[in-house]
């Protein structure tokens, strides 16, 4: 598996003066014109206070939201020209999402939740179960395959959500406040898991208001009022 250092310099995601403005009586500039590159294999923390634009940035990067200005390229492909179905396909193949609220289906088991995204790949059920089982094993939940979310702790639920994202074999993992609903112990476990996945070659972006978590990233973007106001690389080592 290539280390992150060997693949730096290859632009995975490129924002070229991307802006997001929500219309209304008073238009809201959620993202001001922003140019940014995320390289393959990076682990990037996006920090900022609530309402600073962190989630908007991740939504644009994950193709959940279309920018109202500028260009957004995914592996060199201009996403602005893509129709809705192509955008959906690109999103499913490239990006995995981890949300603060977990967003698990309450009446599905951990295995079924982890396999959910594979339904839209047209994968047979048997394959979905195998891949989902592998993903849950990777996040340390091989003994909770048949558990419903109500029987899981907060940290376990978030790990199921991570497994759901992993099962789709994304190139980029976008995490919006993944530890926002977790206690410190579970939060540390989740961050450690994400760092481990990054070590296996996954590009990871984490939006967080927690400076301590951001400090463990390879690069940190500080965002406020819809624009990146600072960017730095903390002292950081690859996990062994």
């Amino acid at each position: 598996m290539s280390s992150a250092a060997t693949i730096y310099g290859v632009s995975e995601l490129e924002l070229d003066r991307v802006a997001v403005t929500y219309p209304g009586a008073t238009p809201v500039a959620a993202l001001r014109p922003l140019s940014l590159r995320i390289n393959t294999g990076e682990m990037v923390g996006v920090v900022g206070r609530s309402g600073s634009g962190k989630s908007t940035l991740l939504n644009v990067l994950g193709l959940l939201d279309r920018p109202t200005g500028g260009h957004y390229l995914v592996q060199g492909l201009d996403t602005g020209t893509l129709p809705e179905l192509a955008l959906t396909s690109l999103r499913a193949s490239c990006f995995g999402f981890v949300f603060q609220a977990f967003h698990l289906l309450a009446d599905r088991t951990a295995l079924e939740n982890a396999a959910l995204g594979l339904i839209y790949r047209g994968e047979p059920e048997r394959t979905r179960r195998e891949v989902a089982g592998w993903a849950l094993e990777r996040v340390g939940l091989s003994n909770r395959l048949q558990s419903l979310p109500a029987a899981l702790s907060g940290g376990e639920r978030q790990r199921v959500a991570i497994a759901r994202a992993l099962a789709q074999r994304p190139r980029v993992l976008l995490c919006d406040e993944p530890t926002g609903n977790l206690d410190r112990q579970n939060a540390d476990q989740v961050i450690e898991l994400l760092r481990g996945l990054h070590g296996e070659g996954l590009t990871v972006l984490i939006a967080t208001h927690d400076e301590q978590i951001a400090a463990s990233m390879s690069r940190v973007l500080s965002i406020d009022d819809g624009q990146v106001i600072d960017s730095w690389r903390p002292a950081w080592e690859m996990p062994r």
Binding site: S55, N59, G62, L64, D65, E84, L85, T88, S89, L90, R91, A92, S93, F97, F99, A101, H103, L105, D107, R108, L116, G117, I119, Y120, R121, G122, E125, R164, A165, Q168
Partner: protein
């Protein structure tokens, strides 16, 4: 780059999972279709059963009876000879003369008491003249004694039959001892008490005398003569048209025939009138079922916004979401249709058992009703599916 897709098999599997793991929501959602389909099955089943019962009752008796009567004055055309004339017509089982004497006016009737020459009860009663064959034709049956026969009739024997009501009024409960009655002063021997005369139930309230004995009664010439004909099933209409010529070939227009409505025509008339009404009711109830499913599903879509947003974020296209919703509502419609059909059949059978009808449910209804439930579910899911497909992932996940 793999293209986002959602196989129909997966849509159905997910629909089954969603339905099975939310039984209460499924039941509430299917209630509309369940009640609609059940109502339609009951309406159609009871309609068919009732029509069958009506036509069956009709077939039993009235559909095989033709009554000829004569109009105008002059020499009577309907006589005992007319009975033989009708025998030549194909389809005639029996024919008999029935004649209400004196235009139905009442005669003074008294009887002898238990002791000879002791005055007994008296009354005023209607007197009907019936030929021996006529007794057979109207289906007369005695509770006590016997009917008079052709020999008694031909020999003008002064015998009489009492209808059960008349016998009760005169205090005669048995013909043992040959009780006698006086009709307008003329003595008649009571030989039987009639308990039933299905084609002429009015005779039960009066006295029945043979043709030969009626001649001795005053004012026996008045009244309308009738020839009652018992026909084979389906022959009534034909005999009604041929009878006047057989009775009075020289002046058939004097003879009028009263024939029952062809039972198949009656059934068709009833059926066609009912069918239109039932179809309207069926459509209205199905519409109610569609609206009911649509309302509950729309509420479900609102509650499942986050799930829809999640599915969109992990690869579901808008039309995949629509397919998911429509699959669920169609399945719910099928479930409601099956349960409604079963319940409708059960209720129909129960009502028929209470009514004494033979249940008549078209097999096509039991097959079509669940399909109708499916169709109602499909239609009901259209608008909620459109609403669900319009949910953007970002709007759903940020709430």
């Amino acid at each position: 780059m793999p293209v986002s897709r959602y196989r129909l098999r997966d849509a159905l599997r997910e629909a089954i999972t969603n339905v099975a793991r939310s039984p209460l929501r499924t039941l509430l959602t299917s209630l509309g279709a369940l009640l609609a389909v059940g109502t339609v099955v009951v309406i159609l089943g009871l309609g068919d059963s009732a029509a069958g019962a009506v036509s069956g009752a009709f077939n039993q008796l009235r559909a095989t009876t033709v009554t000829f009567s004569e109009q105008g004055t002059g020499k009577p055309a309907i006589t005992e000879a007319s009975e033989q004339a009708l025998d030549r017509l194909h389809g005639v089982i029996d024919a008999g003369l029935v004649w209400t004497l004196n235009d139905g006016a009442l005669y003074d009737v008294s009887r002898l008491g238990p002791l000879y020459h002791t005055a007994g009860a008296s009354s005023t009663l209607q007197v009907v003249m019936v030929s021996a064959r006529g007794l057979r034709t109207v289906g007369a049956a005695v509770a006590n004694g016997r009917l008079f026969d052709t020999g008694m009739d031909a020999s003008h024997q002064p015998v009489a039959l009492l209808g059960s009501e008349a016998a009760s009024g005169l205090g005669i409960t048995s013909v043992a001892g040959s009780p006698a009655i006086y009709i307008a002063g003329q003595r008649f021997t009571v030989i039987g008490i009639v308990r039933a005369a299905p084609l002429e139930p009015a005779t039960l309230a009066g006295i029945i005398v043979p043709v030969g004995a009626a001649i001795d009664l005053p004012d026996h010439g008045g009244g309308s003569r009738q020839l009652i004909v018992h026909t084979q099933s389906g022959a009534a209409q034909l005999i009604a048209s041929q009878g006047p010529d057989a009775i009075d070939p020289y002046n058939p227009s004097r003879i009028s025939a009263a024939a029952p409505i062809d039972p198949s025509q009656l059934r068709n008339q009833v059926s066609s009138q009912l069918t239109t009404l039932l179809l309207v009711i069926a459509l209205v109830t199905m519409l109610v079922g569609v609206v009911s499913i649509a309302n509950v599903t729309l509420l479900s879509v609102i509650q499942r916004r986050a799930e829809i947003g999640l599915r969109r974020s992990i690869g579901a296209a808008p039309h995949h979401i629509a397919l998911m919703i429509v699959s669920e509502t169609t399945l719910v419609g099928v479930i409601g249709g099956v349960i409604g059909t079963s319940g409708g059949v059960l209720i129909t059978a129960l009502v028929c058992a209470l009514k004494g009808w033979a249940p008549a449910i078209e097999p096509t209804i039991t097959l079509a009703a669940p399909l109708a439930g499916a169709l109602s579910g499909l239609l009901a899911g259209a608008y909620p599916a459109w609403r669900a497909s319009s949910v953007t992932p970002i709007s759903a996940l940020q709430r």
